[in-house]
Structures are given as structure tokens and as C-alpha cells.
Amino acid sequence: MSMALAVRRLSRLRHFSTQVSLRSNPDARDHGPTAGKYRGDRGSSSTKSSVDAQESAKFAALSGTWWDELGPFKPLHAMNPVRLLFLRSGMCRHFKKDPISPRPLDGLTILDVGCGGGLLCEPLARMGAHVTGIDAVEENIEVAKLHAAKDPLTATILYQHTTAEQLVQEKQQFDIVAALEVIEHVPDPMDFLQSLSLLTKQDGAVVISTLNRSPTSYSLAIFAAEYILGWLPKGTHDWSKFLTPEEVALLMERASLTVRALLEEMTGMFYDPLKQTWRLADDLSVNYIAWAAKRGE
């Protein structure tokens, strides 16, 4: 899609949201009304933060239930295998690893931003990767640490209560940076993607998954999931913060991340209610996951 068309689409975003603002100058410092802070912030906000206090509070309340497969995070548990399969095949392809090997990610470093209770970190560690998980909500990190310690295969995961921006300041870099189901909760997607890009090594990759802003996603992910089926607590998602695949692709380009072909490396995920499983699909209208390679200089 042409840049002009994309820009026009993006400007329409302002009508829907008072919170998301796309600035052409990524270095601007004014945040707007929802500037995030750490919980118990000690006052140093010269670093922009991708943390939104309201959003953090929502997750802190549920922190004890991350690993209850039948609890409030059941949809995420159900979605996990599909996300992992996508990640695994993307990583094997990108880094030329053997997909049949039981530990194909040996030697790779992965950062999971917004790791929550560690649902993604643990399987990635079992696949052989060296995993670091970060989250803005301290309770989540505590839960993740406790759970990962139970299995020797996952006890090597490094969990930290910090933000992506903080790690950028520390000049850390990883082979793969993953932020699944996070970008719809941050105040500034552009800045967030910039941080993710800076945290990725040359020839590495970034993986994002989120919800599309479409009528279908409103009726399924908000209305049905939160109000009818009760899968998610009401207010979990703010539809105006959802991003379309085109927007994500554009933001990624600006952050020096290449999404080679929109449909090749972006895949939709949908839930099959008859079989009660999630699947990967071409339809990006509700949930989708995107893979982007860090461009060389």
C-alpha cells in the first residue's frame, strides 16, 4: 500500500483515540495525559516509558492467576501453542536452524517484553534459547520467577522488573525481541517499536502480536470476549488502541524493521469454537502476529 494512503489512514486514528499520537519526530518528549510511570516510581522520568499506569493496574490484579490454565488467562494459554509454533518456524527459518531438533533455539538470546507470568518464556527456554523476560508489573515477575524455578529446564530464565526503555539505556541487545499482546496496551506504539528495534541485534528479528482495529475485532475480541463469553475481564482491551497490520508495518519500517511481505510474515490467528483450539490463518481481521527482520545499516 502506498505511503500516502497509509499516512492518511494513520491521521484518521486521531479521531478514535485521545491517547495514541503518532509524531513524525520520534525524539519529542511530550507524552500526553497518560504518561506512564513505574509502579512506585522514584521520580526519574527523563526516560520515556512505554508503561501505562492504568494498564499495569489491570494486570497486577490478576497476577496470581497466570498459571491457572482454566482461570482468567485461559484464552492466552489456549493461544500459546499457536504463537509458539509461529515463533519456532520463523526462528528456524531466519536463523537457519533445524526445525526437527527438540532444542532448535540453542545459542539464541531472546527478550520477551511484557512477559507476564512467563507463558512465552518457559517454552522458549525449553526449546534451548537463553531467555530474558521483563515486565512493568512487579507481581508478574514474582509469579514468573516462582513458577520457572520449579522446572530445571526453565530455571535459567532471567526475569527483571524493568522496561524496554531501561534496557535500551543499558545498551542491551538480543537476537530476537518479542512483544506479544503488548503493543495494544502501550501509550505510544511508535516509540515502543523504536525501543524494540534498538534492543535487537543486527540480523536479528522482532515479533509482535496484537489485535486488529476492525469491526470484526470489536464484535469478537471486545463485545463477545469481554461481555458475552466472559473470557476476558471487561475493559481489558481498548479498541481504539488496536492497530491495523498496515499501521504496524508502517511503524516497523520507521523503526528500521523490515516486514518483507505483509502476508508472508504476518499471520492471523483465530479461535475455532468447535474444536476449542486456535489456528494460524490468512485472515488478519482479529488477532495477528508479525515477524520483522532488523535491517542492516
Binding site: G64, D68, E69, A78, R88, P102, P123
Partner: protein, 440 residues
Amino acid sequence: MVGAAVACGLVSSPLTRSLKIAVIDGSPISFDKVKKSDIPDPRVSSITPATVSFCKDIGTWDDLKSKVAPFDSMQVWDYAGLGYTRYNAADVDEPVLGYVVENGILVSSLRARLQGSDVDLLCPTQVDSVIFPHRVGGLPEEEGSNWAHVNLKDGRSIATRLVVGADGGKSKVRKMAGISTTGWDYMQEGLICTVRVDEHHSTAWQRFLPTGPLALLPMNDDFSNIVWSTTPEKAKELKSLPSEDFVNAVNNALTKDFSPPPKSGFAEVLTNRFLSPYFGNLAPSATEEFQFPVKVKSVETDRLSFPLSLSHARSYAAPRVVLVGDAAHTVHPLAGQGVNLGFGDAAALIKVLEKGVRCGLDVGEISLLNEYENTRKFANLPMMAVLDGFQRIFSTDSGPVNALRAAGFNLVQSFGPLKKLVISSAMSNGFSGLPGLLRI
């Protein structure tokens, strides 16, 4: 047997090969390949082509193929003499309907496969108890072990991510996991023995008597296997008969008792003339006349018997435990499906565990095991219901029911598409061959 099959499958798959596996069995391993003894053991199973395909995948078919007896046709009728059905492998363009094989040979082929692998074979060993991690609400307990512990009678204890309960109908693992069963006693016993018949044949014969079905299955040379499901009293009587009298009893039950053999009926003519032209493809066996089964000459082994019942575990999976084979379900032997359902379970479990490793999941995770359970219940329950239904229909002696059975026989015999459906369902270990809505 099914447990060993699971182990073989895991070892054969590149993804799961790296898992540490231990197989615990009460009977000793004997690695000398069981020579096909002259007289076949009466404990046999009839395996379907789907099971054969599984055996090929796990690497045991090469060992088995010279030791199995194929059958390519089947004849089913009842004591009322009103109808019969003949099935032929040619109806579905296949060379065989299935194979008859001694259970001992199946087991030894599996063990031979495991012999060269990394699997720990703890045999003979008895399990004393199994302790599963306690879950508070939906969450694992804070303290306490994350693993399941299998305590053996010799004092050893093994910590594991997943316990596969393949310890038969009276499964200890199932009991310790707190999984209950439903089901009922059929008030029947299955009497088995090996016999010699007057000529080699490749047909499976089954006649439903008022007390239960009598099946004659072909084996190598002029040997055949008898499976006679009948009342406990009759079974006792049959076991105590001198050999000659027993042979006569079998021959009479297959041919003379109760009524003369069936002939083509009105219903058959109707279907042939009116229905089949629309659906075409008359199965070759539709025009086959009723045949008399081969005659039994002598009994070659002891007559053994075991009680028959239906049972089904309420769930096949719980955290860190999963049930396969008879531990999960037992069925009436009238269609020889028991072993095939078990191997179907093994194949499904291996697939699910492969997926677990591919996704980096903990293989004892309940969400993974639930996937296995849903797949297998969907496949097993309809089959069990059908078999149970057959068992009831064939045990009921009343005019209308007899006529119903006759109509059923005739319909299946002459209506090609229905017969093909029946055969392909049986051959593929379940109803996954059904078109449309039920297709998985």
C-alpha cells in the same frame, strides 16, 4: 502392549526421541524372538490396516509381517436365519480386511524394537503407588513436588513429568489418579482356543447366537481361532466337555443350531432392484451367496475364558497422567476392535506429545493432555456405543428385533455405499472416514 507401543512411537519420532522414557511392566522381558510355535496361542487380536500403518510408523511391521494371518472376507449372520452379510476386501478395493495375530507376537515385536533404544526397560517390576502433584484450585501448589512420583515395590522411586497409564482394565494408575469409570458387566464370558479346520481359509466367520457371538478367525495353515462369547454357565460347560464333544458343539453352533441357514430375502431383492441403481457400485460381495463356514476338526489348545464388560474412564487425562488402551476403555470382543482402539490411542498420544515438544511445552501439561482426550473420546465413544448397541441387539430374542436384525443384515449386504462405509470405518479404527459434519 499399548504402553510399549507408545514408547516405540516416541522413540521413532525425531522430536520426541530426546525424551527420557521408562517402561515398567510386571512380566519379564525375554528378548529371544518368539519363534512362531507350531500351535498358535489362543490369545489373538485382529488388527486393522490402520493399526498396520501405525506399526509401520513405529518400526515393528517388518518383524510382524511374516507372522500374521490375513483375512480378506467376513461373513456375519445370526441364529434366526433370516439374513446374512458378507464383506469382501474387494468391496473397498483393498487386498485385505485385516490380520489375525497372536498377542504374544505383537508384544515381542514391540519389545524387540525397544531393545536397541535408550528406553529404560524396568521389567519385571511392580508399581506400589503413584503420587501426583496436588493442585489447589487450578494452580499448582507452592510447596511440594512439581512432578509425579512412581514408587516401585523394590523401593525405587521415579520422578517424571508424565505417567502414561497402560496397565489394563484394572488400571492401578487410573485408580491412583482418582479417575473413576462407568460401564457395565455383560454377564458373559469369552471362551478362546485354537482349533484345526478342514481347509485353509481367509474368512472371518461370526454367528450371533442368543447367548452371544461365536467367531471363527483364520490363522496360518489349517489353524483357526475360536472366540465364543456366551453365558458363564455355558462357558463352564463348554470348557468341561471332552475335545470331540466340544468340536461338535462348535460345528453345530456354526451351522445347525436354532435354524437353517439364511437365503437371499425379499428385502435384498428390493434393494438390488430399486436402490442400488441410483447409487451404483454394487459391492462385489453383494451378490455372494451365504457360505457354510469351514468345519472344525480338532481342538489344539486349552480352552481359556475371561469375563466381558464394557468400561470407560470418565476422563483420559489429569495433570501429569494420561490413560491409553484398556486402562481407558474396554469393549466387547464382538468386532475385534479392542486392540485397535488401543493402538489408535497410542498414535494420538504420540502426535500430541510431538506437538508438545515442538511448542516447548511441559509434556505433562493438562492442556496438552486434554487435546489427546478430546481426540480419542471423539473417536472411541461412537465406536463403543455402536459395539454396545450391537451386543444388545444381538442378545435380544424377540420377533420384531429378529426381523430388524434381518433387515439390517440384508440392507448392509446389498446396499453398496452402506457396506463400504461399514468396512472403511472398521478398517480405519473409527469413524474418521465419515463425510461431512463428522469429518475431523
